[in-house]
């Protein structure tokens, strides 16, 4: 496939991103005649921005993990991040934690802790004599994911007077009465993780040659893994903790971007971040246009579009083999 020059592509994407957030301001259950300044500035604009930031975080996390694991099917959730977050959130809902933590809703704070906790646990399990083979890390994350998933099922069965809250969280939602305060949770996570990824973008490229070659070319691969794992997990944690489980954005976007601009992470990362944000913002607009009165779970919308794409990638790869 012919590659698109990255400079103009970035410029176009920034414009499209602004357009998508702008479009998001136009979609909603309130008719144009009844729109107030507050609805636009306090609700719709931050909601569009939140969708963009969450999509960007998931995209960044996906690109980071796919590079780190040298596996195009890795996504923000591989190292147990999503299941850890789910366990945290569901536990806090089911067990009825009500205390706000640093001003965060208990489910948000618990999801955050669960996401980061699970990824560090995976790292700890996979670490043998100071080295962490990425395959082991991937498998450890998957094992933790299964374990946390089972715990979630058990918790739901123990006691679920707040069933709808659990379901809403597990399906992912962009419909929150307090979008600005959620933006404030996502932004720092995204900035820190993007900073780390930017610093290690060149090393991610070296990793494409294989771990051994990367080391010979001067990459400190073990330290690289800690930072990239942490950055990917942090970006995903910010997204998942604020808006619940939103699947497939982190899987689709880096794969599409790689096909369009090539595997160089210095251009791949920014392109992925912008496209991830655009995709989720537009998905949210589509969901609101399709169902203006009844808020659709955004996770279901992205999975609906994402699942066929996942199959497509699988088919492409098996055709090449």
């Amino acid at each position: 496939m012919k590659r698109i020059p990255s400079g103009p592509a970035l410029l176009v994407l920034i414009l499209v991103a602004a357009g998508a957030v702008g479009l998001s301001v136009l979609a909603g259950p309130t008719s144009a005649g009844n729109l107030t300044r507050d609805i636009v500035l306090q609700y719709r604009l931050p909601r569009g921005i939140l969708a963009f930031l969450v999509g960007a975080s998931l995209g960044a996390s996906g690109a980071c993990f796919q590079g780190l694991f040298r596996n195009p099917l890795a996504d923000p959730f591989v190292v147990g991040v999503s299941s850890g977050a789910a366990l945290g959130a569901v536990a806090s809902i089911v067990l009825g934690f009500e205390t706000l933590i640093f001003g965060l809703a208990p489910a948000t704070a618990a999801a955050f802790a669960g996401a980061l906790g699970a990824s560090f646990l995976a790292y700890g399990i996979a670490r043998v004599r100071g080295r962490v083979p990425v395959t082991t890390l991937l498998l450890a994350g998957s094992a933790i994911g299964s374990f946390a998933g089972a715990m979630v099922s058990i918790l739901i069965l123990i006691n679920t007077p707040r069933w709808s809250e659990v379901v809403t969280w597990l399906m992912g939602s962009m419909s929150h009465p307090d979008p600005w305060s959620r933006v404030l949770v996502v932004v720092p996570c995204l900035i820190v993780s993007l900073g780390v990824m930017a610093v290690y973008a060149r090393d991610l490229n070296l990793l494409l040659l294989g771990e051994e070659s990367a080391r010979q070319l001067g990459a400190e691969t073990e330290r690289l893994k800690i930072f990239l794992l942490g950055a990917g997990a942090l970006a995903a944690a910010g997204a998942v903790a604020t808006c619940g489980m939103i699947g497939f954005v982190g899987l689709i976007v880096p794969n599409v971007a790689r096909r369009l601009v090539g595997p160089d992470h210095r251009t791949l990362l920014p392109i992925t971040v912008l496209s991830g944000g655009i995709l989720l913002t537009l998905a949210d607009v589509a969901a609101r246009l399709a169902s203006p009165q009844f808020p659709l779970p955004i996770g279901a919308v992205t999975a609906l579009a994402g699942a066929p794409f996942f199959v497509y990638i699988l088919r492409q790869r098996s055709a090449k083999m």
Partner: protein, 281 residues
């Protein structure tokens, strides 16, 4: 062992005077289905808290053999054997040998059908309005052989509704769930009670999820929050500019007085009527 069983069976059938075959009666339930039950039923299992509450309200508490773990009202209900929570444990259900299972069909269609499939009579109650609750009380009374107490319970409810009913006054938003945001439109018993209490609902339809911006756009005069979620409401978009917030007309009310189709709804109705009557401070 088998011989012993035969002897017991003979004793059992001999001790019954001839012609005292258990009486059965048939009742139409909310599905329109004719349900035939041994009458009066002695081993009733309820698979829904509201159904449990109605049974106790008409004085059939002693005939209740099993309830769910969520059945916490009236307090006596908590002492009954449990048949599960949302998921019914069919072994426990079978052990209780129910002669009648009561539920609200639309809330438990799958479980209801499964229990019917096992041969137990399932009776469905359903309420979309205060009228429905009143007639549910009478039905449950007839079904369980407590017509008199059911009638007095229904009459009390009718009187309480009548005492507060008034013309629609201020607009209101009723929130029973924060995550997701959920409200009760006029097509629900909760919405019906709030309408009779003198409020004008900013939403229509039945139970529904909403987008916060719809509340902002409709800017109700009164907000009723009927959930105990710990939340910093100030963080909600445009909160401080809502009329209800400016005029200090946001009320935190007890969920159990509003969201169950039982006589307790009258408590919510009366409280809401007081709230709607108050003038802005």
């Amino acid at each position: 062992m088998r011989r012993l069983a035969w002897i017991l069976l003979l004793v059992g059938s001999c001790s019954k005077p001839p012609g005292s075959e258990p009486v059965t009666r048939s009742f139409a339930d909310s599905r329109g289905k004719i349900v035939t039950v041994p009458w009066p039923p002695r081993r009733i299992v309820s698979i829904l808290p509201s159904a449990t509450e109605l049974l106790f309200a008409v004085g059939a508490g002693e005939q209740v053999a099993g309830v769910t773990t969520y059945c916490d009202w009236p307090p006596e209900a908590k002492t009954k054997p449990k048949i599960g929570d949302i998921v019914v444990d069919y072994e426990r259900l079978a052990n209780l040998k129910p002669d009648l299972v009561v539920t609200f069909w639309s809330l438990t269609p799958k479980t209801g059908a499964e229990i019917e499939g096992k041969g137990y009579p399932v009776f469905s109650l359903e309420s979309r309005s205060l009228e429905d609750i009143i007639s549910s009380l009478r039905t449950v009374g007839a079904l369980t052989g407590h017509e008199t107490q059911a009638e007095s319970c229904a009459a009390t409810l009718v009187a309480r509704v009548k005492a507060v009913s008034r013309e629609p006054g201020p607009t209101f938003y009723f929130e029973h769930s924060a995550e997701p945001l959920g409200t009760a439109g006029p097509g629900t018993y909760t919405g019906d009670a709030l309408r009779r209490a003198g409020g004008r609902n900013i939403f229509d339809d039945g139970w529904r999820l909403i987008d916060w911006e719809s509340v902002m756009a409709r800017d109700p005069e009164i907000i009723l929050i009927a959930h105990d979620r710990n939340e910093d409401f100030e963080k909600r978009a445009g909160w401080s500019k809502l009329r209800a917030v400016i005029h200090k007309r946001v009320y935190f009310v007890a969920k159990e007085h509003y969201v169950y189709p039982t006589p307790r709804l009258a408590d919510g109705l009366e409280e809401a009527a007081r709230i709607f009557r108050e003038k802005n401070p």
